[in-house]
Structures are given as C-alpha cells and as structure tokens.
Amino acid sequence: MESVESRRIVTDEEKLEAKNFNIFDLPDVPKGLPPHLELERTRVVCKVDAPTHTTETIYSGAYAFMGVDNSVNLENFSENFKVDVISLTETDMVFDMIGIPAGIANAFRRILLAELPSMAIEKVFVVNNTSIVQDEVLAHRLGLVPIAADPRLFEYLSENDQPNEMNTIVFKLHVKCPKGDSRRKVLTSELKWLPNGSELLKESAGGSTKQKTYTSFSRSQDSFPEFADNPITPSFQDILLAKLGPGQEIELEAHAVKGIGKTHAKWSPVATAWYRMLPEVILLKEFKGKHAEELVKVCPKKVFDIEDMGQGRKRATVARPRDCSLCRECLREGGEEVVPKKGGEEVVPKKGGEEVVPKKGGEEKAEVKSKGKREWVDQVALRRVRNHYIFTIESTGSQPPDVLFTEAVKVLEDKCERVISELS
C-alpha cells in the first residue's frame, strides 16, 4: 500500500534514492507482495480503453507461495472495517464502507432493493371513477405511492388471512370536480387514512342484520402508540394521482399491505441503493506550468487543482479524487500524440517550453500501441480502491435510510441463521 501511495509524484528526493539504489540493500527474504501484485490486489486500474484486474482475489491461499496470507478472518476484518458517514438526511444517506468484501457489500445492496419489507397499496376498491384515468391505471399509480408507515409494526397478509388492523392500512379517496369549475389535480394529500378499517359494505346474499365491511379490525389503529399522534400518510403529499375535468369524480378505497421488493418493485423501500469504489487519481510525473493548466482544463469533473510553488512556478495537484467519474478524458485528450518510431522508442513531438520525456517501463505503461495514443496515458493513473465502497441509499420515505441499512444487515444474518439451523 505504501509503495503505491508514494508514487503520487516523483520528487527529487525519490530520484536521488533511485540513483543510489543497490540490490544488495534489499532484505534477504522479501516481505509482502511485490508492488505490481499489491497493486492488482488492492486496486482496479482503469486503462484508457478498459479497466484491468477487476475481479477480487478471494482465495485465501492465492499468495501463499510468497508467504502472504490473503484470508479475511473475523479478527483482521474487525480491525480493518470502518464506516464513515458522509451525509445523512431523512431520505438520503451516503457513507463509506471500508474493508468490506465485494460479495457482502453487494448482498446488502441486493437486500435493500429486493428483500426489505415496506407497506404499499395492493387492493383498490373503486366505487366510482368517471375520470379519464382508467381504474387499473389509477390502481397501479396508487400502488407506487410510498407510504410512511413502519413495516416492522405490521404483519404479512397471507392468502387465507382476514385483513385486520395488524396487516392492512386503509385509505379513502373521494374527490370531485364540480361542474363549472376548472380542471383540478388529485394529489396524494387527498388520501385519507381510515384507522378503523374499511367503510365499504360487503354485499351479502342473506341480508343479515350486521353488515360486513372488507376488513375486520378488532381495534382502531389510532390506539397504536406509534400512530396515536402521527397519522399514517403517504410519504409525499404532492404526488399527482389523476386530473379531474368538470363533473368528474373519483371515489375509492385503497388497502395497503406489507410486502417485499422481490414480489413487486412498489414494495421496495428504496428509490435506489448503490455503491461505487473510491476513485484514486495519481499523477505519475509532475505536471508543471502549462501542462498543469491543461490538466485542470481537460478534466470535466474538476478533479485537479493548481498549486503555487512560488516564483511563478505552478504544479498540478489532485484535489478532489472523489469526484472522478472515470471518464478518462485526461488520458484520451491530454498531452501530445505519441508517434511510434521504429525500434520501439516512443517520441513525443517537442512543442516549445518544457520537454516531456515519456516514462519507460513501469507498471502503469498502457499496452495501447494504436494510432492516436496520447502521452498522458502513462502519466496519469486512474484507479479504484477495492474494498472501499461509497454506499448511497435513497429511501422512499417509509423509513430513514440508516434504519434500512441496519435492517438489511439483519436480513442477511437471518439468512445465515436459517442455513445453520437447517444443517444441524
């Protein structure tokens, strides 16, 4: 890792060190991995046409022949694992997860998307709908409305269950656009929560004394301590459901139940959850003067800055590597074109000012020998740090994103537990 870090900019000191290098000064038994293997192990290197070493080496004995242990056991995992919260709001969260294997990070992401429960409208009883939006389209739109109710307080409604206060949330929508008025919108704010359950009467054949409704609540959901002061509403009050012309009317009842994203995406508690690896941008040579200015200009994400070294000398620095989107514009457009000459030597046409000597050899040398290769291909290294994930969770508003992540981890724990109990 350190050898990688120190390659940022070749300083005069390092040049001197390289000059005085003596092979006999090296330790008798090499310790750790050689730099090129260490780079492959810890970084994805993004070359001008494609990234290399994209797969993680997970086999614990992969480097055993060099005396290096590649295993992750609980002790060294606990030691290295870190979480940094970058931002956290009601609906969005960005955090760094450092030292987690890709498979486990991906499991969290997959669980967040498909296996965490939330409440969504599943049944719509349309009493009257004279709007131009058809019943089924309206029902579908209602289904996608996120509902701000903690799904942990509810149970799943199975096929043979009666809808009751523990598994169903009932909303009523009754809107009308009187004749003579102008057209109006129907927003989610008009969905009214019915804590006592359905108000629609079931048509019974026998005309019994007590009319049944579509739900059988034994007590009002108002009496739940969680909902006593804050009634259940859609997460957002300004989602457009339909538009009504003069004389049109919608009257319906919507029943929300608990479900998971695997069954239907409307139950996914996240708008999206994704991660990216931490970008690492390294200048393998010093970019001075107009080259520095060119580097700053060529980057659309403004990753680079210019550092004033005094006496009017300027040097480029990597100021915001996190913003690097890996567009590789600096590799594609930066510097002069390299003209291949006979004998394998590469010559950079001189163009006033400083002369640029292309770096020869070294691990960063790109294999691209085609026409139009730019000199910076070998001078700017774009990498991604493995096992350092920038995780983003966008919640739909049913639960805060930090709660969602904790729940996702719990789901994976439960899966393991299930397997263990089935095996024993």
Binding site: S60, V83, M97, N106, A107, R110, T406, E413, C416, I420
Partner: protein, 122 residues
C-alpha cells in the same frame, strides 16, 4: 439439503431453496477465506427456480461443518458491521446536533451584538 457421498464427507453440494446470489455469493466469499476449503463455489441451475447449489470441497474436514462455520463467520461479520455502522451513525448525528447548536448560538450572539449596536446608535 445436502448431497454428499457416504464414504467421503469432505465433498458435498448444498441445495438451498428460496435463496439467490445475495446469500450464495457472500457465503462463497467466506468459504474461500477458510484455509480448509479447496473448492467453494455456487451455481443457480435455472433462473426460474428459486434454488441455489453451493459446492464445498475441503482438505479433509466434513464439508457440512466447514459450510456451517462459514455461515457462522458471515453472521459474525454482519453483527460487527451492524455495530460499527450504528456507532458511526450515532456519532454523526451527535456531531450534527452539536454543529446545529453551535450555529444557533452564534446566530443568537450576533443578534445580541446587533441589538446592542442598535441601542448605541439610538
């Protein structure tokens, strides 16, 4: 469900129903981290069947034990992730609260300063 051989219990395939890449890939990772494992891999035989086969071959230990250990390990990793995450979130929230409080106090202080200046001008 375990498919193994009677004579050699160090090789086995485990069939898990109602599971997919989510668990299988994570377990595969943990399996490969175990030095006792020679082969740890998984396959989903058909995408429309909710089923995954996990193959475990070991250097001699019973495959089911090694597989169980891997699940145990994964569970402990998860527990650790959860505790670290919770701590980080609590710390972040506390820090945000402190910052908000500080900003409020600063505002109050400036208002007071402004007020006193006003009095002086009057």
């Amino acid at each position: 469900m375990e498919h193994g051989s009677i004579t050699n219990n160090s090789h086995a395939t485990f069939t898990l129903t109602e599971e997919d890449h989510t668990l299988a890939n994570a377990v595969r990772f943990v399996l490969n981290q175990d030095p006792r494992v020679t082969v740890g891999a998984y396959t989903i035989p058909h995408p429309s069947h909710e089923k995954v086969n996990i193959r475990v071959q070991t250097t001699g230990d019973p495959a089911s034990e090694v597989f169980k250990d891997a699940c145990q390990e994964l569970m402990q990793i998860n527990r650790h992730v959860r505790s670290v995450f919770d701590k980080a979130v609590t710390a972040y929230k506390a820090e945000e609260e402190r910052k908000a409080k500080e900003a409020e106090e600063e505002l109050k202080r400036q208002r007071e300063l402004f007020g006193s200046m006003d009095i002086e001008s009057n």
